[in-house]
């Protein structure tokens, strides 16, 4: 395989990672942007989505396509419902104070992780891809499912963008993000917007997990890496900037392999975490210069 083909393959692999990461990170960024809540449990919603996908596809095992479509629809709805309940029952009474909400979401993190361990066990759970065919490029054949992941994620990103730009609910979200008190004065039900945003954030993570689970397996600890990567994307893209997050997530996904080529995986993670801490200290508006709000 010559260099061009190799580069093309690496780009495709990077795009798969970028697709999943941008959805997950978008969810985290939306919650932080609108609610100013750091959702440490975000990775657990991702993990929950993956396990629910495994559970649903197993229930409809004889029809893989139908099972997968059901998972793609039901798993995010369930996860969104759990997040909605958590928001109403715990975060709302806390009045969204930064310290108390972060402590509460740490509580969510442990509870969800432990419940998943009890319900689904410590073993990784594989999910069959709903269809198996290779798309033939001139140089190599490439998994059609991975291309499907890239396209679906792109579609979902566009849909989210459309909702935020052109629909009433998106307008309410942007108004709440801009200034929640003024939004309240203009008759926007800020409390309900918060609950919706928290649920949508969790659903985005769950969708990303359903998409990736036929490629990676579901595991009860998978949420921690998802959380770390999403954090990196949100911070590098600039806290509170949703576009910045998506750009950062795509760049990180595309360049994903690079760090681990040069360093051992642990060292790559060390470098990445230190880098994020330093970005947050010295360039809190993110690396792309967007204005922090």
């Amino acid at each position: 395989m010559d260099f061009g083909a190799f580069f093309f393959l690496a780009t495709l692999e990077g795009l798969v990672q970028a697709a999943v990461l941008s959805l997950t990170a978008l969810g985290l960024s939306l919650v932080f942007g609108v609610m100013r809540v750091v959702n440490v449990a975000h990775g657990q919603f991702f993990m929950l989505g993956a396990f629910l996908a495994w559970w649903i596809t197993n229930m409809i095992a004889n029809q893989p396509v139908l099972g997968f479509l059901a998972a793609l629809l039901i798993a995010p709805l369930l996860v969104g419902g759990i997040a909605f309940l958590g928001e109403r029952l715990v975060l709302k009474p806390l009045n969204y104070g930064p310290q108390s909400t972060i402590v509460a979401t740490i509580g969510f993190l442990y509870i969800i992780q432990e419940v998943a361990l009890i319900l689904f066990g410590p073993d990784p759970r594989p999910v069959e891809p709903p269809f198996q065919f290779d798309v033939e490029f001139p140089w190599f054949g490439y998994s059609g499912y991975k291309l499907f992941v890239i396209c679906t994620a792109a579609l979902l990103l566009c849909a989210t963008w459309f909702v935020m730009r052109s629909m009433r609910i998106g307008l309410a979200m942007r108004a709440t993000q801009f200034d929640s008190e003024t939004a309240q004065n203009f008759g926007i039900p800020v409390g309900r917007v918060y609950a919706q945003v928290f649920a949508i954030g969790a659903m985005l993570a769950a969708v990303a997990a359903v998409l990736i689970v036929p490629i990676q397996q579901a595991h009860y600890l998978m949420g921690l890496d998802a959380l770390l990567l999403s954090f990196i994307a949100v911070i590098v893209g600039g806290l509170g900037s949703i576009q910045g997050t998506v750009v950062a997530a795509i760049l990180i996904g595309l360049s994903g392999g690079i760090l681990s080529v040069f360093f051992s995986p642990t060292l790559a993670k060390i470098v990445a975490t230190l880098f994020v801490a330093l970005v947050l200290v010295f360039k809190p508006e993110g690396l792309f210069g967007g204005k922090a709000r």
Binding site: Q99, V103, I106, I111, K269
Partner: protein, 320 residues
């Protein structure tokens, strides 16, 4: 603070130390070990509380200071057979230096960013213990050999394989930690810390250098965390990566919240309550993280002042 309430609170803290001293003659050996562990970990929580409870800064990464004390004391003993008092001093010194460095960087941020930055630094430290698995043995950790577990100090030989010796050494260090924090909290600069917690802008406007005071609180908290780590390594002859994990940072937060943030004895009470709770429930469930998670939510949502904080609010106003 009136002189009477100062006298009362000094008496209270002396009484707590005296009760802990007396306990060793009545409790069975198993509980003696548990209480020793509680006293050592309580030093960590008491230090953490200076930052979280009094200054109002929520750090999610204090396991790194505990761990640096643990490793800086434990590794030289393991590899070079360093004298234990010297190793202890080394552990404390290392944690003081690290907390000064991290504090200078992390305190440039505030609020949400501060929490994430401390979390990220601690995570980098945790990963570092795995990167250096060759020397630290990662999660499995190192057991210090029994042959180097005694030391002579001031003409007396301390044998750390004896439970009584460990118990009383832990008690001494706990008493010292309480004394230090008591002095800090009751001092002028302790009141400035509380002022920063209540309203940093206003404190700065009154002409106080809030950064310097926050850094001081950060270093005191880091140093006491490191002291706790070093004590743990020496008394229990074990160093392992799990003490550097995020979970260890969260647990100290939980102990402090449970006992009552912003009270001197709260963290001790919280540590004791939580360690015993996990101990008792481990008989019928292994899911102790579930308890930790539930406890965090219950505390922060319905019981934010913790045990001692609520007691102070309702009945005994003079508890420092």
């Amino acid at each position: 603070m009136t002189a009477a309430s100062t006298r009362k609170s000094i008496f209270l803290h002396l009484a707590v130390v005296a009760v802990l001293f007396g306990l060793q003659f009545v409790v069975p050996d198993y509980d003696k070990l548990t209480i020793t562990r509680i006293m050592v970990i309580a030093v960590y929580a008491i230090g953490y509380n200076v930052l979280f409870g009094y200054t109002g800064l929520l750090s999610l990464g204090h396991a790194m200071f505990f761990a640096v004390g643990l490793y800086a004391a434990g590794l030289p003993v393991y590899y070079f057979g360093l004298d234990l008092p010297l190793a202890f001093a080394l552990g404390i010194g290392a944690s003081l230096i690290l907390s000064l460095l991290i504090g200078v960087i992390a305190l440039r941020t505030s609020g949400v960013s501060f929490m994430i930055v401390t979390l990220m630094f601690a995570q980098a430290g945790y990963l570092l213990t795995f990167h250096l698995t060759e020397y630290t043995q990662g999660d499995a950790g190192l057991n210090l050999p029994a042959s180097i577990r005694s030391f002579g100090f001031a003409g007396i030989t301390f044998d750390l394989t004896k439970p009584d010796v460990r118990y009383n050494l832990a008690l001494c260090i706990l008493a010292l930690a309480i004394l230090i924090v008591f002095a800090v909290v009751r001092s002028r600069s302790g009141r400035i810390l509380v002022a920063i917690r209540e309203n940093e802008e206003r404190t700065r406007m009154l002409g106080y250098n809030s950064f310097a005071h926050k850094l001081k609180a950060f270093v005191i908290a880091g140093g006491l965390s490191g002291t706790s780590g070093a004590t743990f390594a020496i008394l229990f002859a074990y160093v392992g990566a799990s003490f550097a994990s995020i979970q260890n940072s969260i647990e100290v937060l939980l102990f402090t919240l449970l006992g009552g943030a912003g009270t001197i004895l709260g963290p001790l009470l919280g540590t004791a309550a939580m360690v015993y709770l996990v101990d008792k429930t481990s008989e019928f469930t292994t899911a102790h993280l579930l308890i930790v998670g539930l406890a965090l939510i219950v505390l922060v949502a319905w019981f934010p002042k913790g045990i001692l904080g609520s007691v102070r609010e309702r009945w005994v106003k003079w508890i420092p």
